[in-house]
């Protein structure tokens, strides 16, 4: 038998016990090096043992419970998806979600962790697997060819009781199962399973360890007399440059995907929690502070922040404010969507990136604004980074996600029912004087955003250190200009007079263009600009995106030049 890089057989690659809390195990299968780690939710990840950035081994990375952090340059990858969640060279922005490490299939069963070189065949348990409570022996690495190790194990059987050969370099010897893990052409690990828990585990383990040590020594002496087989040569593909570097502007206009409303509950007075689960497998990687667009049954689209912590990709949890005003959006979600319903959501996108190189992060939430900050707090918490979360509500009953907040290790301070004047002074104390590498993140009602902005500025905080999440555009829109728009793909030239929006004019002329908030806050109407100078009035794009002059919101933005050419 010759080993093949594309052998799809499932082999054991580790014992369950090899993965204690927050450890990264270094493994190898058919020449491919593996970084194997268990996340805090119990999920085992089997990844190519290379950081996409420079190919540094991830087995020396830090297992943070929901993410694995490369120790050399700090790139982080999420549990389950292996999606990159952070690139320190771009601390002001989050990486494109599509940067993903290579993963291998994984199954944990019978005290062992199994994997295979590809997804070609499904995991099938060995014959009789369900007949016993298996007990794993100490694995025995051997510098010998897997087929030689297998043959030597077969020869351990007495003549009258020959070994039963099983598929995948495995055999059964007098009730004991042995698997040969093909590490490489000349290297193996013998993994044994006993049927049932022995009475004296330690004596049993030592007994088998002795047998296997002797076998190993014999095999290695024999291997030393033979020419060493050529190691397998797996190709390690480095990530393409365009994937590994940040695009100047990352605005995915991604597709939607269906999710099931797994749970709907009252999280606090006026706040309804929704848990949205993937129909199978996991959801895409997201960054702390990211939101999704939820497509509502009545055709509207609304944005909700993901509250989850790092690597929690089995479902997204959002909080929805029960609006007293009968505004179509959230009301529909709260009133008519039930558990078990299907909804369509966008891929997560992030306008509110969290820097993880700060020496101090101050998170300030007002009311429903807690949702993105809860996610940030969870990321900081898992990385043991210092942060303070200040959460302002009018009354104690309005504290949403209370249990989740109590589970955090950082400083979480609830401010309930403060009079307006006291809110300002509390914010001032919470912020303190600015010093290098401190950042503040705010989400809440616009009065609170303003208050934080002015207080911070007065206390020496520079603009770059103050981060906002807008769900509303409170700016007064200046719509006095008039100009021409040329729609490149539709071959139309239209006039936009003062007092009318680009969106309205396009619709009047029979074009179907998506919109949602119509106030320059949500990004639904984002359009590529090919020529002309834009008069941005939205709060969706950040300053560098605005300066690029490459895109705009057609619901509020206008032209400074006489003519704009749009990619529509």
């Amino acid at each position: 038998m010759t080993l093949s890089l594309s052998d799809p057989t499932w082999y054991p690659i580790a014992s369950s016990e090899d993965l204690p809390f927050r450890h990264v195990y270094q493994g190898q299968l058919l020449g491919r090096e593996l970084a194997v780690w268990r996340a805090d939710d119990g999920n085992v990840n089997v990844w190519e043992n290379r950081c996409l950035h420079r190919g540094v081994r991830l087995s020396i990375g830090i297992n943070e419970g929901g993410e694995l952090k490369c120790q050399y340059h700090g790139w982080r990858y999420a549990n389950r998806s292996a999606g990159c969640t952070y690139i320190p060279a771009h601390p002001a922005d989050a990486p494109a979600r599509r940067i993903e490490n290579r993963t291998y299939p994984v199954r944990e069963a019978y005290g062992l962790v199994w994997s295979s070189a590809n997804n070609d065949i499904a995991f099938t348990p060995f014959p009789g697997a369900d007949s016993a409570d298996w007990f794993a022996l100490r694995p025995m690495p051997a510098n010998a060819a897997p087929e030689d190790v297998h043959a030597a194990l077969v020869r351990l059987a007495p003549d009258d009781q020959p070994a039963e050969l099983l598929p995948g370099l495995a055999l059964r010897l007098d009730g004991t199962l042995y698997f040969v893990q093909p590490v490489d052409a000349g290297r193996s690990v013998i993994r044994g399973l006993l049927a049932g828990q022995p009475d004296d585990a330690l004596t049993t383990l030592r007994h088998y360890n002795e047998i296997l040590t002797k076998l190993r020594d014999r095999l290695e002496r024999a291997a030393a007399r033979k020419p060493a087989p050529t190691p397998l040569q797996p190709i390690f593909e480095k990530v393409a440059v365009d994937l590994a570097t940040m695009p100047e502007i990352a605005i995915p206009r991604g597709n939607t995907m269906p999710v099931v409303v797994k749970r709907k509950w009252t999280s606090a007075d006026g706040v309804i929690g929704f848990e949205l689960a993937a129909r199978d497998g996991h959801l895409p990687t997201f960054q702390p502070g990211a939101h999704i667009d939820v497509h509502l049954p009545n055709g509207l689209i609304r944005q909700y922040s993901i509250t989850n912590g790092p690597g929690e990709l089995m479902s997204y949890i959002i909080g929805v404010k029960q609006e007293s005003a009968s505004k179509g959006g959230s009301k529909i979600l709260v009133d008519t969507v039930r558990e078990g319903d299907l909804l369509s959501i966008s891929e997560p996108r992030n306008n509110f990136p969290l820097r993880r190189d700060a020496v101090r992060s101050v998170l300030i939430a007002g009311g429903i604004g807690i949702t993105p900050l809860l996610s940030m707090a969870r990321f900081l918490d898992k990385s043991s980074l210092p942060y303070e979360l200040h959460y302002f509500t009018r009354a104690g009953e309005q504290v949403a996600f209370r249990g989740d907040l109590e589970a955090l290790h950082g400083k979480v301070i609830l401010h309930t029912g403060l009079p307006r004047a006291e809110i300002a002074s509390t914010i001032a104390t919470a912020l303190g004087e600015w010093s290098r590498a401190q950042h503040v993140y705010v989400c809440g009602p616009s009065a609170m955003l303003e208050s934080v902005r002015t207080t911070a500025a007065a206390q020496g905080w520079p603009d770059e250190a103050i981060h906002f999440e807008y769900f509303k555009n409170d700016k007064v829109i200046d719509d006095s200009s008039s100009f021409e728009i040329e729609l490149a793909r539709s071959a139309m030239t239209l006039h936009v007079p003062s007092g009318r929006t680009i969106l309205e004019i396009m619709r009047e002329n029979g074009l179907t263009v998506p919109s949602s908030c119509e106030q320059g806050a949500c990004g639904t109407c984002l359009t590529t600009v090919m020529e002309g100078e834009v008069d941005h009035q939205d709060v969706y794009l950040n300053d560098s995106e605005k300066r690029s002059n490459a895109c705009m919101m057609t619901c509020v933005s206008r032209a400074k030049s006489a003519r704009l050419v749009l990619d529509i």
């Binding site: 016990e17 204690p20 195990y25 270094q26 090096e33 120790q71 690495p141 330690l202 383990l205 360890n209």
Partner: protein, 215 residues
């Protein structure tokens, strides 16, 4: 006043910085340019330590050499709880046994690193083989230790100078071309060492993630 004659890239010097950091001791450093300057063979240094080896530690007027000996000295003198080098005769013997293993690790793993990193003329293959032989023994010892509820090299329920003495050149073995992939229990032990309160890094040795909180 403690003064350490130190070379940043030396694992043997790092052992002392590590224990002193854990014991929260204050000390001065006199840098000695071991490579490429070979100052450890300079006259002034040979007067301090005729064996011409780093590290040397001066505590007031007392001059000490050999990292294992100095570890024992620091623990006996400054660790009031007596945990790092306990008085019990059997445990003392255990610790000294592992100090000797630490010297073997230096003679193999560190030697391989000197060949690959600092162009020393040693037998690389012999050094690497020797390190693998020791790592195999350590992995087995630690693996069964975990089954018996022992997390450290010696029998006490806490680390001792034995763990400090063996740690650096295990961690730096990759620089000598010695992979630790076949020694999962040894790798888990290095995680535990890196989580000792007061742990500090050196170039080539990274911190570990957070430990399980037992509150």
């Amino acid at each position: 006043m403690i003064t350490l004659y130190d070379f940043e890239l030396s694992g043997n010097c790092y052992k002392l910085r590590l224990l002193m950091s854990i014991l929260k001791l204050r000390y001065d450093i006199v840098p000695v340019d071991f490579y490429p300057g070979r100052q450890h063979k300079a006259d002034w240094f040979l007067k301090l330590n005729p064996f011409g080896q780093l590290p040397v530690l001066k505590d007031d007027e007392l001059v000490l050499s050999d990292s294992g000996a100095i570890l024992a000295y620091l623990a006996k003198k400054y660790d009031e709880a007596g945990l790092w080098f306990p008085d019990d005769p059997a445990i003392t013997a255990e610790i000294l046994r592992w100090h000797a293993v630490a010297d073997d690790i230096t003679a193999t793993s560190s030697a391989a690193r000197l060949v690959l990193g600092m162009f020393y003329d040693f037998d690389l293959e012999k050094a690497q083989k020797g390190a693998h032989r020791i790592f195999r023994l350590m992995d087995e010892h630690l693996w069964f230790g975990e089954r018996e509820g022992r997390d450290w090299l010696c029998s006490p329920a806490h680390p001792t100078t034995a763990d400090i003495a063996c740690f650096p050149y295990v961690m730096l073995s990759e620089e000598g071309g010695i992979s630790r992939q076949d020694y999962p229990a040894l790798r888990r032990w290095t995680d535990r060492v890196r989580r000792i309160p007061g742990f500090m890094v050196m170039s080539g040795i990274f911190p570990a993630g957070r430990a399980l909180e037992t509150t």
